[in-house]
Structure formats: structure tokens, C-alpha cells
């Protein structure tokens, strides 16, 4: 009794399955998640209620959802340019940190200023900082053909240590009781909130604008077309006369600038100063968001909201279910596993004879 399982590349590549598989992945994650809750001796239904529904059942919760989703969406939108081009920038966490250092540095340098130009220049320098950090792997890739996956990853840790150096060294708050944090930014350097008493800030508008622009770029411009072609085959793009090296540069700079922007929004928005742990892994989690959103701008907005919910749910789970907030990472890891796994069904047809 031998069954032959044959695996063949699908010829009828279907858009329907392509967009269905994230939903299947989410469903499988919930299914497995309920087993985890059962093992922990918790009722799955009650737990899911605390995890996914109660965090967003009031206006404060919904505001927090957007506070978490904003950086994820902005970073993931930037990354989608790289990933579409088949360039693996996985150093968004470092680019985010550099954006916070550059933009935040402006805020600390002019901390007596009440000029309305302070915030715009912080935002500008945030984007420049992130883009600058992303040009390093781009330069190494185009000049020396150095593997961008490893360089961008190494640079992430370098950036984190640079931030650490600043907040325990030159930028340490003299009145901060020796804690490793900077002085707070002046009021003019803080990101305006949308509603009094809630933390949701104007970064949301930036996310929406970037989403809109990306949608047009990907679908209506020659640049977007070049990205898709060279992502499919870098050789084809070179034969077509596209400057592949320039594409690598542009995509790295766009994704770095987005990550830097997100970093600046974090420190000038909800946090208000610089310290060590400005990001709960947003730069890495955004990679999941980009994949889960299928590198589609609208998909990324939706998946950023979903992944943001795992952060909020994990905080509530810690509070009410007494399980570590790291449970959020379990869900994030699972959803990525399942998404990658279901992609297989998308690419290949399996039949048993």
C-alpha cells in the first residue's frame, strides 16, 4: 500500500487563494492558540474574549490599537518595497532606532525651542536617520555584492548600542535620578494627539498617506512595474534595461526612511523622550505584518491592526489571565509559520494517487 504523493507547480495561479491564505493562517493560529489556553487550564472562549475583544471594547482601547498599529503599518509599508524587489532588508529595527536618535537628537538639541518648525524638522531628521542607516547595506550590496540580510541584521545591533550609549552617556537627563533616559522633549517637539486624553496621534494620517501613495506607486507607475519585474527575476530586469542597482538603493532608502519615521513617531508621540527600549520589536514584527498583508498596501493596513491586537491582547492576558505578555509573540510566530505553510498550497498542487 504505497501512496504516491505528487507535487506540481500550479499553473492556474489563483488570486483568490493568494488572498485567502492569510485568513486560513489566522484561523489555524486561533485553533492552535485554543490548545495552548487549554493546556494552561484556561477556557479558550473566555481567554480569546480577553485577548481579542476586551482590549478594543472602549475608546481608549481602540486608540491604543491605532497607537500600536501605526508604527507597524508604516514600517511594513516601507519593507514591502524591498520585499517586492526580492531584497531582504531585515534591519528595520535598527533603522527605526537610528530615526529615533536623529529626530530625537534634534528635539534634545533645541529643547528650549517653542518654534513650530521643531516637530517638522524632527520628523525630517527621523526619516533621514532611518534612510541613512539603510543606505549602508544598500551601498555594500551594490558596491561589493554583500549579503543584505546579514548586514542589515548586524547593523540593527550596532544601532541599539549607539542608542544605549547616548542615553547612558551624553544625553542622560541630569535630573533623571541616574536612570538611562534623556530629558523629555519640549512640548513643541511632541506629536499632536487626535483626541484629548487618548494617545492616538497624527502618525495615523502618515500611515494612511503612505498606504495611498504606495498603492498608486505599485499599481500605476513605471517604478512599481520595475519593482515587480526585478522581484520576479533580477536578470529579466537587467535585460529590460532597468538599473537594478538603483532599484536596490531606492527600495532600501524608502524602507529605511519609513522605519526611521516610525521610530521618531514613537519617541515624539507616546514615549516623549529617548530611552533604551523604545520599540517592543516593531522592526521585526513589521516583517510579519508585511508578509501577512501579502505586500499589498491595503492588506498591510489590515494585518497591522491584527498584529497590533496581539500586542494589546497580550498585555490584557498578563493582567487578567496571569500569563506572560510574551504570549503575544507565540501568536505572532504561529501566524507566520502557518502563513508560510499555507503559501505552499498556493504555489503547488498536491495530489495523491
Amino acid at each position: 500500500m504505497a501512496y504516491l504523493i505528487s507535487i506540481k507547480l500550479r499553473e492556474d495561479y489563483s488570486n483568490f487563494i493568494f488572498y485567502l491564505s492569510p485568513l486560513v493562517a489566522v484561523f489555524l493560529t486561533l485553533f492552535f492558540g485554543s490548545f495552548i489556553f487549554l493546556i494552561l487550564d484556561l477556557s479558550p472562549i473566555e481567554s480569546f474574549k480577553i485577548f481579542f475583544i476586551s482590549p478594543i471594547s472602549n475608546s481608549y482601547g481602540i486608540s491604543e490599537l491605532f497607537v500600536k498599529a501605526t508604527p507597524l503599518a508604516i514600517i511594513a509599508l516601507g519593507l514591502s518595497y524591498c520585499f517586492k524587489n526580492n531584497i531582504y532588508n531585515i534591519g528595520a529595527e535598527g533603522q527605526l532606532t537610528m530615526g529615533a536618535i536623529f529626530g530625537g537628537g534634534i528635539g534634545l538639541l533645541f529643547n528650549n525651542s517653542s518654534s513650530i518648525l521643531l516637530l517638522p524638522s524632527m520628523i525630517l531628521f527621523g526619516a533621514i536617520g532611518g534612510a541613512f542607516w539603510a543606505t549602508i547595506p544598500a551601498l555594500l550590496k551594490t558596491k561589493f555584492n554583500t549579503n543584505e540580510i546579514l548586514t542589515s541584521l548586524m547593523l540593527t545591533y550596532v544601532a541599539l548600542f549607539i542608542l544605549d550609549y547616548f542615553v547612558v552617556g551624553p544625553w542622560k537627563d541630569p535630573d533623571g535620578y541616574g536612570l538611562p533616559k534623556s530629558m523629555p522633549f519640549p512640548e513643541s517637539g511632541r506629536l499632536p494627539v487626535l483626541f484629548d486624553g487618548l494617545r492616538i496621534h497624527i502618525g495615523v494620517y502618515f500611515a494612511i498617506i503612505i498606504c495611498f501613495i504606495s498603492y498608486i506607486v505599485f499599481n500605476k507607475t513605471l517604478f512599481g512595474f520595475k519593482l515587480r519585474v526585478s522581484g520576479f527575476s533580477s536578470k529579466a530586469s537587467q535585460y529590460a534595461g532597468f538599473k537594478y542597482k538603483n532599484l536596490i538603493f531606492y527600495t532600501f532608502i524608502i524602507s529605511g526612511a519609513c522605519a526611521g519615521l516610525a521610530g521618531l513617531f514613537e519617541v515624539s508621540g507616546p514615549i516623549g523622550l529617548l530611552y533604551r527600549d523604545i520599540s517592543p520589536n516593531y522592526g521585526f514584527t513589521a516583517i510579519i505584518v508585511a508578509f501577512l498583508g501579502r505586500l499589498n498596501p491595503i492588506g498591510i493596513i489590515l494585518s497591522s491592526l491584527l498584529i497590533a491586537l496581539t500586542y494589546l491582547g497580550a498585555e490584557d492576558a498578563q493582567l487578567f489571565l496571569k500569563i506572560p505578555s510574551a504570549v503575544g509573540f507565540v501568536f505572532q510566530g504561529l501566524v507566520l509559520f502557518f502563513l508560510l505553510g499555507t503559501d505552499f498550497l498556493n504555489k503547488y498542487r498536491i495530489s495523491i494517487k
Binding site: 554583500t146 500569563i323 510574551a326 504570549v327 507566520l336
Partner: protein
Amino acid sequence: MNLDLIIGILNIVLISTTPLVLAGIGELVTEKSGVLNLGLEGLMLMGAVTGFVTLVLTGNYFFSLFFSIISGIILSGIFAFLVLNLMTNQIATGLALTIFGIGLSAMIGKNFSGTPIDGLSPYYLIIFSFLLVFFVSYFLSKTKSGLIVRAVGENHNSAYALGYNVIKTRYLTIIFGGVMSSLAGFYISVCYAPMWQEGMIAGRGWIALALVVFATWKPWRLLVGAYIFGGVAIMQMNLQAFGVKLPGQFFNMMPYLATLIVLVFISSNKIRLKLSAPSCLNIPYEKNS
């Protein structure tokens, strides 16, 4: 400086560097067969927590070691299934493994953080790490199986044409890497610390990953590199005690900066050939294509 102090410092370097050697050698073998596993940090955390929890529950070092290794086999087996059978993206799958491991280890260990245990002497695994480097070096350069591993990593299509089982070889190297990572985790929570704390691997998985590149995929160089990195980290603490003003963060970034420089250096193709970087690294193998 007296002799006792020097011996004391060397001893600390020896004890703190061993996990880098263990995890690094595992990843080296995995990468030699053409697979990049970014899940080291997650594998090490899971190895650490299963080893620790088993020791608290049973009080038996053998069981503790055993279950720690089992965790490595299961998790790296899942990774292998995804990247080899389902041909998923290795980068994304490795990151998923790390994120998943960070989360799951914290959940498993939540009731055990701060529990005191009698640690195992670190010297067993320290001696093992040196033997491991010797055997892996011998295996890769002198044995037929080692040659197959390298062939699979160098050109999987040719290796397949020659009749070698690419998938099976990579399964074995990935699981070997997973077991070594979990052993490194076990060492940290049971021998080195000895305790459990959420996220206690603290980036050692990434340093081990950097080391493999730094060592240009050569086991002996990896051993030397690990001791340079480990030595610099310990030296930094001592220098600060002596009042040297250079900020510690710059010492901490050195492994990453050194790896960056090596990466640039080995990128040009002529040098790359001499330096034995596996050319199929991170390229998925599709059997029926």
C-alpha cells in the same frame, strides 16, 4: 597583575564563551549544507527553559539534558519541514522560529523564574565544546559524509544528480544545529547562570550567527573568533573597573562590526571561492523543478 587574577579572568572567559561555540558550530554545519537558520535565539531559549524546568521537576541532570535536546529536535524539525518540504522562505521561517521561541519559553518558564537550583559544573560542556570543534572540523574536511554536506551546500542540483539525498542531508544538518543550540541554552540556564529568566539568552543567538560568518565557515576559526568576542566582552567589564573611559557599548558592538567587515571582505567572488562560503546558502531546493 598577578597570576591568580589572570587565571581567574581566563576562567571567566572560558565559562562565558562556551555557549557561543556550541550554537555557532551547530549553525556552521547547517549553513555548510546551504540552509540559513535565523532561529538560533528561539532554539536556545527553548533549550534553556526545557532543561531548567525539567531539572526543577525531576532533580535529574540527565533528564534535564535529554528534554532540552528533545526541544531542539522538535523545533528545528518544524523549521526543517517548513523550509525543506514546504519550501518556505528561510529568512521569514527563521524569524518566526525566534519570535515563537521567545514567546513560548516565557510562557513555559513563568512559574520558574527565580527558582534556585544546584547548577551542573560547566566544565563537562566546556570540554565537550572543544571536542566538538575537533570532530566537526574532521567531519567536514576528512569524511565522505562531510563532503556530501559540503556538496549539497555548494550546488544542490549537482549533488542531487550525483545521487545524494539533498533533503535528507539538510534535515540532518538542521537538526544537528537545533540540538547544538538547545545544548547552548541548557548550558546557560543549568550550568552558567544557573537560573531561568525570561529572555535570558540576551542576543547570544545573534552573536553566534555573526560568528559563523566571521569565521568564514571554518570550525577552528569559529573557536578562535568566539574566544576573541568572549574575551573582549569580559575585558570590557574589567577595563571599566580599572577606570578606562571608553564606553562599554563600543565593545559590545565589536562582534557585529567585525562581522560586517568580514562580510564585505568575503563578498567579492574570487575571495569567496577561497574562503569556502557555501554558494547555495539561503537558496531553496525544488526537487521537481
